[in-house]
Chain length 265, copies 2
Amino acid sequence: MLFFVGLGLFDELDISVRGLEVVRQADLVLAEFYTSRLMGSSAKRLSQLYGRPVTLLSRSDVEESPGWLSEARDKDVAFLVGGDPMISTTHLDLRLRAEEMGIPTRVIHSSTIASAVPGLTGLQNYRFGRSASIPFPYKARGKRIVPETPYMVFSENRRQNLHTLLYLDIQEDHFMTVNQGIECLLEVAVAGGETELGQALGVGVARAGSDGCMVRAGTLSQLVEIDFGPPLHILVMPGGLHFMEARALQVLAKASPELVRRFEI
Amino acid sequence: MLFFVGLGLFDELDISVRGLEVVRQADLVLAEFYTSRLMGSSAKRLSQLYGRPVTLLSRSDVEESPGWLSEARDKDVAFLVGGDPMISTTHLDLRLRAEEMGIPTRVIHSSTIASAVPGLTGLQNYRFGRSASIPFPYKARGKRIVPETPYMVFSENRRQNLHTLLYLDIQEDHFMTVNQGIECLLEVAVAGGETELGQALGVGVARAGSDGCMVRAGTLSQLVEIDFGPPLHILVMPGGLHFMEARALQVLAKASPELVRRFEI
């Protein structure tokens, strides 16, 4: 049996009690931390709390030569990932390969940023439209490319008065900040002729799930000046605010009454 | 301090290790199960596993006279809810009241249906548009009313080729089934002139997070004939399928190759 065990939002305590039982009873415990990071922990600390050796897999162990998969034919293998498992296509692909090999699989769910953000910000979950990721700008043929997709997704949601959750890129040990994410959005907006996006409302969230979680609302021009501290960061672009959401952004995200009033519907 | 502790998807083992620590150290442990249900458990079983008395609150204890809130001024109060906390406006309102009374609050996140569904079905989370709830039809002035909002939300997502997660109504001990949810959608569609919705693709999910979880894909006309068993149920209306999603629905949701081929993009 192959168990995909979600480790949740932040550190080794965010696993579920069910997940912990699976890990403690498994014959083999593997983890991968390149599709998502458990910022507050490490394979070593996981091993200590769980009382089991945890083997960290590389990208190629997971994507190219998952020879360990056949171990799950006659052993219980726990495969640990940050957040809720199966959000990454990589995990889905592994699960389908296993099922196609006749290996039964089971998903042990956990907390994840997509459901934590409505709770942390007070923005209602049913008012979120499609989410998107902001990738780091890159160079192609000597030209700087800032991908337009996140801005397009945000624009479409805004048209429908929905909130947008924007994941911020992770490349090796580079974590995109709220500030960098905003700069990407502004750059694409200006290139497309929207020069006033700096006056739009944004909410930055850092270190969701930890005691040091930080949530701040402001115009993009205000937020871009704020230091959100260590990763992970995430950016929310709210649609128009319902009354309770406006109240929540004042209490939970230090927004001024004047600011939220401008965006209430 | 007031802790909002998420109990996760299904039973008393879905709480996080962090959540369990908070419950065990709290001076007072309260729970409410009317905004969401922990189908696989009860306040009594929670008490047994957690080794603490758990007091079940009524709707009026929570919404009208939460006198217990002031206990959190100088005690640690753990407030337990199914799923991830703060998804319900009721919890947000409580949290804001507490903060406005000067009581610090902390959210302990957990697994929730919105993040579990992409994992269970293989439908990619970034391809979900806005979600909606299908309420039970009701009578007003002797006329049967089937609310149109879920169909409208689905239609708008379909136009953008996005998936739609449809929560199914709970009223007291009545849990809407996948079948009833589909019937509501079909009724609204036909009234609006769309007579072919029965041929659209749907995915029914029952008892997410449990060992007895069931996931089936089919046309709505096929799904409406399937018995999904005990609650909770949820319905997904996929947009066009990417290759990996089509493969996943065959492996994880017993869809036939012919069926998914019709919806691949």
